[in-house]
């Protein structure tokens, strides 16, 4: 009902508009004037509206600045961010000046030089001097912007110093996990193929490789088993349908139960089915049997399984190779790494050297308050550094918000729940951070996943 009413209103509206236009055209016809002759009244009105619009634009801008301020993010919370904000402000001064000046000239000219009776336009086709001026002036301003920008850029992207604390951020749909480098400040190696249920960061040690090899072996066996069963299912049902006698069918069923209750190989099983068939037909062992092709569904399941199998076999081979190339003396770097979920803790005034790793698709680690951001790309490690200079408490005071927290958000579209992918960041003063870290060092990768493997550590040392 509602929709019908809306429809009726729309239709009447359009009809009314059409009638209005007709009326308006009639008056034009009466005055013997075409649609292309713009009457002075319209022309002047629009010229005035140009000024009106300019005022709307400028006052809108000023209103937004006054109400929402320069940046809703608050002051920059890292050394690098302070540099960025300084440069940002310089740029803003320049572009806002250009915005006001050129928009003013545009709308002012549109108002001032509107057609007036008896005034002819000035034929002014070019002026090389003027054109040189407005090529060179922007060029000079841009040169300044470029030089300042590149200076900051080279500082921001320079390698982190040696003493910077290393943290790896691992991203997947739809969460972040951090890995601190531990006492030795060296992050252990990883390889995505080592991902297992209890090693979701795919960290590399001798024993994680072993367990991955084992697990991969098991899952290959499982797929092979599935393939065998499916093929056997298909064979047995084909054989069952070869002869319509119910005796034969029940004998086949018996044989099938017997075979599949034990370990069997497919060739042997087929041989047994064939013999049974031979017995019924009296054809002996050399009988030729033509079976139907498996149906589409079976074919597609078999196809999927075979594809899966070949992928797994490839992965298995490279895992075995990894084991051969593995250097156990590297394990100690991995074993004392600290895995940290949900919240990332940082220390005020300490430089951090972040590296990034993605599990599935591209993500982007965006730290709005530290003015830092870097894409997280599967198969390609990325990195950057920053030094926090305001603790969470200080930032809360500065923002006048007791519940404020720093955050990492995902800033590259990564799937349905992209918008929920975040990690809270807490910046502690040094003492508090050291306490926290001391506690964490008792829960390293090794403690969590290999609490009983003292030997490995000792062997590595």
């Amino acid at each position: 009902m509602e929709k019908i009413i809306i429809l009726i209103v729309l239709v009447t509206g359009v009809i009314a508009l059409a009638q209005l236009v007709r009326l308006y055209e009639l008056t034009y016809k009466l005055k013997d004037r075409g649609e292309h002759d713009i009457p002075n009244r319209d022309n002047n009105l629009n010229a005035k509206l140009m000024i009106g619009f300019m005022l709307f634009l400028f006052s809108g801008f000023i209103y937004l600045v006054l109400r929402f301020g320069w940046t809703g993010r608050g002051e920059a919370a890292s050394i690098q961010g302070v540099e960025t904000d300084w440069l940002l402000n310089i740029n803003f001064v320049i572009i806002i000046a250009v915005f006001f000046l050129t928009n003013f000239l545009l709308f002012f000219f549109s108002f001032k030089y509107v057609r007036k009776p008896g005034v002819k336009a000035k034929y002014y086709s070019h002026n090389n001097k003027l054109e040189m001026i407005w090529t060179i002036v922007p060029a000079v301003v841009l040169a300044v912007i470029i030089i300042l920008g590149l200076k900051s850029w080279s500082e921001l992207t320079a390698d982190a110093s040696k003493k910077a604390e290393k943290i790896e951020l691992f991203a997947y749909q739809f969460a972040w996990v951090a890995r601190y480098a531990g006492e030795d400040n060296t992050l252990g190696k990883f390889d995505y193929k080592l991902t297992t249920g209890n090693n979701e960061l795919a960290l590399m040690t001798g024993s994680t490789i072993d367990s991955s090899v084992q697990e991969m072996g098991k899952s290959i066996e499982a797929v092979e088993q599935k393939l065998k069963l499916i093929n056997f299912d298909y064979l047995s049902s084909e054989y069952r349908s070869l002869i319509s006698s119910s005796d034969y069918k029940s004998d086949v069923d018996e044989l099938v139960t017997e075979i599949s209750s034990s370990e069997f190989n497919l060739v042997g099983a087929e041989e047994q089915l064939k013999q049974l068939y031979g017995r019924y037909t009296g054809g002996g062992d050399h009988i030729k049997i033509t079976l139907n092709e498996p149906n589409d569904e079976t074919k597609s399941i078999i196809g999927d399984l075979e594809k899966d199998l070949s992928t797994k076999e490839r992965l298995y081979r490279s895992l075995v190779q990894m084991k051969q190339n593995h250097n156990p003396s590297q394990d100690k770097y991995t074993l004392n790494d600290i895995i940290q979920k949900d919240t990332l803790y940082l220390c005020k005034g300490r430089e951090y050297d972040f590296s990034f790793r993605a599990k599935d698709v591209i993500h982007s680690a965006y730290f709005p308050h530290f003015r830092a951001q870097m894409n997280v790309v599967p198969g390609m490690p990325t990195s950057f550094k920053f030094t926090p200079i305001l603790t969470t408490q200080e930032m809360r005071a500065s923002k006048n918000n007791d519940e404020f927290n720093y955050v990492i958000m995902c800033n590259k579209i990564c799937g349905g729940a992209h918008y929920k992918m975040k990690m809270i960041v807490v910046v502690y003063p040094e003492a508090e951070y050291d306490d926290w870290m001391a506690l964490k060092r008792k829960a390293t990768f090794k403690d969590q996943y290999f609490p009983n493997e003292e030997t490995e550590m000792i062997a590595a040392k």
Partner: protein, 642 residues
């Protein structure tokens, strides 16, 4: 008019000479067409070879696609302003599948955003703008009977139509079926690629691995397959069209129409076509490699990936390779969209200021400079992909250089208005609006081009504000200027001026109201492509409140400006059928298209082709008592050209 060239001197456009006897010397082609080949409905309105009709076909298709994309934006703007609230609009348009109880689903939000971007950039602003006006104006303003190849021109439109159809259909994908028709076979060896629901959901840039892995999001199945096929066909259309434009501009100019007597519209279309021919093939290869990764198990863009619990064996590919290929098109694409709009507005501003365009040669120079530079700046979209910082510096430098020719263009427009005698037609108003948005959106580009600053605001709403103003609004305003100005040429009737004024004021207020506040959302740090900002509750309620206030403002203006487009649609369609008849040269313009008859004829000029004697901007020339001098008018004795 001087005696024109004998007939043989012209290269005959293919398609126009179809089925003709060898013409005799001086015989006019058009008479043949009328004597021997009565056009029927199909050859006139559907499979037409006539560039004017093809231009109109492009315009109609693009207007439809533009409306679809605008509607999509309204739907996701409603979600952004009032997240989690039941909306009858959402349930009306998206139904129970995508908006159960009037609440939008997360996946579909991404689908709406992706299709909005794709359709606006490629189908409205590339196909619609360049397709419509290059087709309409290149032969008319150059004095040619038709495009170099009428048949290829027709092919270009029908490829465009087919790709539009595919892209539109992708909105209706459900469980591997479109409109209930099962596409492909999900049980075959390529499970994900033919399955899944909804359109592509990886953003209009469709970065892999998200777009390459059907397991990662539901739209990366059949929806992405549709997207890729549609864009492949679109690129073919664009390439055929562009080649045709280039050949026509180079070969079919009438006598006296030297390159430096071409109107700036043609210069803009010409450079645009060159950009398109050089950059679209790169996107084609990017799309084909992505198709291979999806369908043939290759690893161009994939390496070391575990999606869900699937460990993939792909190794050695790089997702960043895709981004390089994509943006090698993607950045020139910005100018493929923008240059035609600037060209159209140059013409409209000069005509309605009753003044020559200021610095004609500088304008040509800056079009060419922008065109050239646009090929070496693509990396500024990738500052934070982990690229080598030195390479980043190079891109900062080249990108900021573009500001120089852009500034020259703006100042030249301002000087053209200065001491003019402005006739504020609706077209002129939109052209002035374009200059304003070009400035407002352009200056924020300086910040985004600065890699050090880009780190902090990359992929936030600041970027959304920037490119919507400088590319979206400017190009759409250019397109409106073009439609209002050349409507009499297209349909032989006039549009209603006063409705045009209302349309302009509502649109410019609405559009600025939508995009200007977005700068502040972005400076507050809000990432783009977020379904909602509820996550802020956990760390910064203050910023969330501010963003929600702004989002409500933005959405209100968005609905306002969408409704304002009804006025345009009404005016447009009403005037096609009922508008007053157009006079020969309504805007008192100097260019050749206004010497053709109001009623379209195949071949454009019923008699000989016109001869050109002067540049196209002789308005208010001193020493002449008329306000404007047609290009066909020979120079008076002792008169300097300009």
């Amino acid at each position: 008019m001087k005696k024109s060239k004998p007939f043989e001197e012209f290269v005959l456009p293919q398609g126009t000479n179809k089925g003709l006897k060898q013409p005799k010397l001086g015989e006019v082609l058009i008479d043949h067409d009328h004597d021997h080949e009565e056009e029927n409905f199909v050859s006139k309105y559907i499979f037409s070879h006539d560039h004017k009709m093809i231009g109109k076909q492009f315009l109609m298709t693009a207007v439809f696609m533009g409306l679809v994309a605008m509607m999509l934006s309204i739907l996701f703007r409603i979600q952004l302003a009032w997240p989690g609230e039941e909306s009858s609009v959402l349930s009306l348009f998206l139904g129970d599948t995508w908006a159960p109880d009037g609440i939008l689903k997360e996946d579909m939000y991404l689908g709406l955003v992706t299709l909005h971007g794709t359709i606006m950039v490629f189908f409205l602003l590339t196909g619609g703008l360049s397709g419509t006006f290059s087709n309409l104006l290149i032969p008319l303003q150059l004095g040619a009977r038709d495009m170099a190849s009428g048949f290829m021109n027709m092919l270009s439109y029908w490829f465009f139509f087919l790709s539009s159809l595919l892209m539109f259909a992708s909105l209706f994908i459900q469980e591997g079926a479109v409109f209930g028709i099962q596409i492909g076979d999900p049980t075959t060896s390529l499970p994900g690629v033919w399955d899944g629901s909804g359109p592509a959901m990886a953003g209009w840039t469709i970065y892999p691995p998200l777009s390459a892995l059907p397991q990662s999001v539901s739209g990366s199945g059949l929806g992405m397959t549709f997207w890729l096929f549609s864009m492949t066909i679109f690129i073919a259309s664009s390439l055929i069209g562009s080649l045709n434009y280039i050949v026509t501009v180079l070969n079919l100019r009438t006598k006296g129409m030297t390159m430096t007597r071409m109107p700036l519209t043609i210069w803009a279309f010409f450079v645009t076509a060159i950009l398109g021919t050089l950059s679209f093939p790169v996107l084609l290869s990017a799309a084909l490699l992505l198709l291979m990764d999806r369908m043939a198990g290759t690893s161009f863009y994939l390496s070391d990936i575990i999606v869900g619990s699937d460990m993939l064996a792909n190794h050695g590919g790089s997702p960043i390779l895709y981004q390089h290929l994509f943006w090698f098109l993607g950045h020139p694409e910005v100018y493929i969209v923008l240059l035609p709009a600037l060209g159209l507005s140059s013409e409209v501003i000069a005509t309605n200021s009753r003044k020559p365009i200021f610095g004609y040669k500088a304008m040509i120079g800056s079009i060419m400079a922008i065109g050239f530079l646009s090929f070496i700046v693509w990396g500024h979209h990738m500052f934070i992909t982990g690229m080598n910082p030195f390479l980043g510096s190079v891109f900062v430098f080249t990108t900021l250089l573009i500001a120089i020719p852009s500034a020259v263009k703006v100042f030249n427009y301002l000087t053209t208005l200065w001491k003019g005698s402005l006739v504020l037609t609706p077209a002129m108003m939109f052209a002035i609006g374009l200059v304003s948005t070009f400035i407002t959106g352009g200056v924020t580009g300086i910040i985004l081009a600065d890699s050090a600053l880009d780190i902090a605001i990359h992929d936030t709403y600041f970027v959304v504000a920037h490119f919507h103003i400088v590319m979206g609004m400017s190009a759409v305003f250019g397109m409106f200027a073009g439609v209002y100005h050349w409507f009499p040429k297209m349909f032989g009737r006039m549009m209603n001026t006063r409705l045009g004024y209302v349309h302009f004021w509502l649109t410019i207020i609405g559009a600025y109201g939508v995009f200007f506040p977005m700068h502040f959302v972005g400076l507050a740090g809000a990432p783009r492509r977020y379904y909602n900002y509820s996550v802020y509750q956990d760390f910064d309620q203050g910023a969330l409140d501010m963003m929600m206030d702004l989002n409500v403002i933005v959405t209100t203006f968005a609905i306002f400006s969408a409704v304002a487009q009804i006025i345009f649609l009404f005016n447009f369609f009403y005037s096609i059928f009922r508008g007053p008849r157009a006079p020969q040269n309504p805007w008192r313009s100097t260019t050749l298209e206004w010497t053709t008859p109001v009623e379209h004829v195949h071949g454009n000029w019923p008699g000989d082709l016109p001869t050109v004697h002067r540049w196209p901007y002789d308005y208010s020339k001193p020493g002449s008592d008329v306000d404007f001098i047609m290009q066909t008018e020979p120079l008076a004795e002792g008169e300097e050209e300009h």
